[in-house]
């Protein structure tokens, strides 16, 4: 269970911004993680992710941002982790928190509450329709009507419906790169999850597709909580309600978007944003 802390917005002991407890979707306390090859570890990260907002994790490569994302949906179970400690708490809509790091946790159910979009569009070698219903079918859903409903709804939310509604049975691999990525976004929405994690979702996409994805995200955060790793500082600035700067496994600074990008407190954050390193 989360320990009590400030119940109103303000700053904590490190000078970091803190949100209201009952506004948090994910609470991360003192998370440390080490991979067997020592890469991309996390060092004592503490951050709260408010509900129905876009929280952006930015910083140079190797900072631990992707690692953090993968902790939230326990995808790092697939990798070689030799140490992990701390608390990662996910709230449901009655404000009950579950510890994601609990070894007894039903990770399958977790992955239906937390969806993920990867950096490269990875479509499954199935039709467009089956890509979208995959997760639901694996969960045991076979009602055709409900599946088709989910397909249409998620494609609408990803702004892809009009482009593919007549060819849902075509192989997903036949779509263009931008369309495939929006398909991956739709796929993560099929479950109606609570949190959506996006790991550099627009790297490799042309500006128009990037724009479409970014505006979808703006719409989506009304329903879901978004955690985004942007592929550029500019994208971070465009999309962030809240932003956290990561450097070599440490979270350096965290606060509302306007504050971080216009008036960062830490010297390192400022240097990175101004492009002095990266």
């Amino acid at each position: 269970m989360p320990r009590s802390s400030a119940l109103e917005p303000g700053h904590d002991d490190n000078g970091n911004f803190k949100t209201e407890r009952n506004m948090d979707k994910i609470v991360i306390e003192n998370l440390s993680l080490i991979y067997s090859d020592g890469a991309e570890s996390l060092k004592n990260v503490s951050i709260n992710i408010p509900v129905n907002t876009t929280t952006v994790l930015f910083g140079p490569a190797g900072g631990g941002k992707s690692t953090l994302l993968r902790v939230i949906n326990r995808l790092n179970d697939l990798a070689d982790v030799i140490h992990i400690s701390g608390n990662v708490l996910l709230a449901d809509n009655t404000n009950n928190f579950t510890n994601i790091l609990d070894p007894q946790l039903d990770v399958i159910a977790l992955r239906r509450r937390v969806g993920m979009v990867f950096a490269r569009p990875i479509v499954l070698p199935l039709s467009i329709h089956d890509n979208l219903t995959y997760g639901l079918e694996m969960a045991g859903e076979n009602d055709k009507m409900r599946l088709n409903e989910a397909v249409e709804r998620s494609l609408q939310q990803a702004a892809l419906w009009d482009e593919v509604k007549d060819r849902l049975d075509d192989p997903a691999a036949a779509l263009s790169g931008g369309q495939q990525q929006r398909l991956c976004l739709a796929r993560s929405l099929a479950f109606e999850p609570e949190v959506i994690l996006l790991d550099e979702p627009t790297s490799g996409l042309d500006p128009i597709s990037t724009g479409k994805v970014e505006s979808s995200i703006q719409e989506l955060k009304k329903l879901y909580t978004i955690v985004l790793v942007p592929h550029s500082v500019q994208q971070a600035a465009r999309t962030a309600d809240f932003a956290a700067f990561f450097l070599q496994g440490e979270m350096v600074e965290y606060g509302p978007g306007e504050t971080i990008f216009i008036n960062p407190r830490d010297e390192r954050t400022a240097s990175y944003i101004e492009g002095r390193f990266g």
Binding site: R111, F118, I122, L126, Y134, M138
Partner: protein, 269 residues
């Protein structure tokens, strides 16, 4: 100079095929393929040998394929990188290297004598199954490993279990590779004589086998017999038998190549 060497390799292969074809053509007729040998093998056809080879191959496939695919799935998808897994791999490599006659010896000792199955199709199939296991396992494992890892990651992130991922994504995608491997492995089983020498093969049977516990004639063994044990054996019939055997083998080879290239063209990644 290298070209010369390559030519030295190629010319005999083509020469062998053409030679057998030309010499054997005359003997191969519908009657040849569908009737029994007569006059102490010196006339008639090779039907029981063809049927026997068919049953042996079928039995081997039935026994070996599920076992091999299971083992390949384990190695490719589940097995951790530890001592035990290395032991399995070493075991497979060694199974692959055992001479075929030693398999025959083993089959004789275990299946025919110890388990008292007698000289039979079953004993032959069991022996051939263990022999083809390593080929099936390694080609299947290769097929699984060639499916991009990213599919598995995505599938897991969507809440699927490891087995669901294998069943729904990995297996279907690996299927052509597995099929190719199966055909090539069975191709080997079709042509092998030593493993069935003491476990299944009979010199001459007046009728087709009735049950898996019956011994049987087989094409490679038949060719061996008529070319070494039957004095006065007409040469065209020998070539005819060789031609039939070769046709099966090359046919399977072509089939496997066809499946392989078609799959490569239709890949969705």
């Amino acid at each position: 100079m290298l070209t010369l060497i390559a030519v030295i390799t190629v010319v005999p292969i083509i020469a062998i095929i053409i030679h057998i074809f030309m010499q054997g053509m005359s003997a191969v007729s519908w009657e040849f393929l569908t009737s029994f040998p007569r006059d102490g093998m010196q006339a008639g056809g090779i039907l029981p040998a063809i049927v026997g080879t068919f049953f042996l191959t079928l039995g081997t496939a039935i026994i070996s394929i599920p076992l091999s695919i299971g083992a390949a799935i384990y190695l490719a998808e589940y097995a951790p990188e530890n001592r035990w897994t290395r032991a399995i791999r070493i075991a497979i490599i060694n199974l692959a290297g055992i001479p075929s006659v030693v398999y025959g010896l083993f089959g004789l000792g275990l299946f025919v004598i110890f388990l008292n199955i007698g000289t039979s199709i079953l004993a032959g199939c069991l022996t051939l199954s263990i022999m083809t296991l390593p080929v099936f396992i390694s080609t299947s494992e290769q097929a699984f490993k060639s499916v991009p890892h990213s599919f598995r990651v995505v599938s897991i992130s969507l809440g699927a279990t490891r087995w669901q991922t294998i069943r729904r994504i990995v297996l279907p995608q690996a299927q052509p590779g597995i099929l190719t491997g199966v055909i090539l492995g069975l191709e080997r089983a079709v042509g092998e004589t030593a493993p069935i020498l003491f476990t299944a093969a009979a010199f001459f049977l007046p009728q087709l086998p009735n049950s898996p516990f019956d011994p049987t004639m087989a094409l490679p063994y038949h060719l061996f017999v008529i070319s070494t044990q039957v004095p006065g054996m007409p040469i065209e019939l020998q070539y005819g038998t060789a031609l039939v055997l070769l046709t099966f083998i090359i046919g399977m080879n072509i089939l496997a190549t066809f499946i392989r290239s078609r799959a490569r063209a239709r890949r969705q990644w």
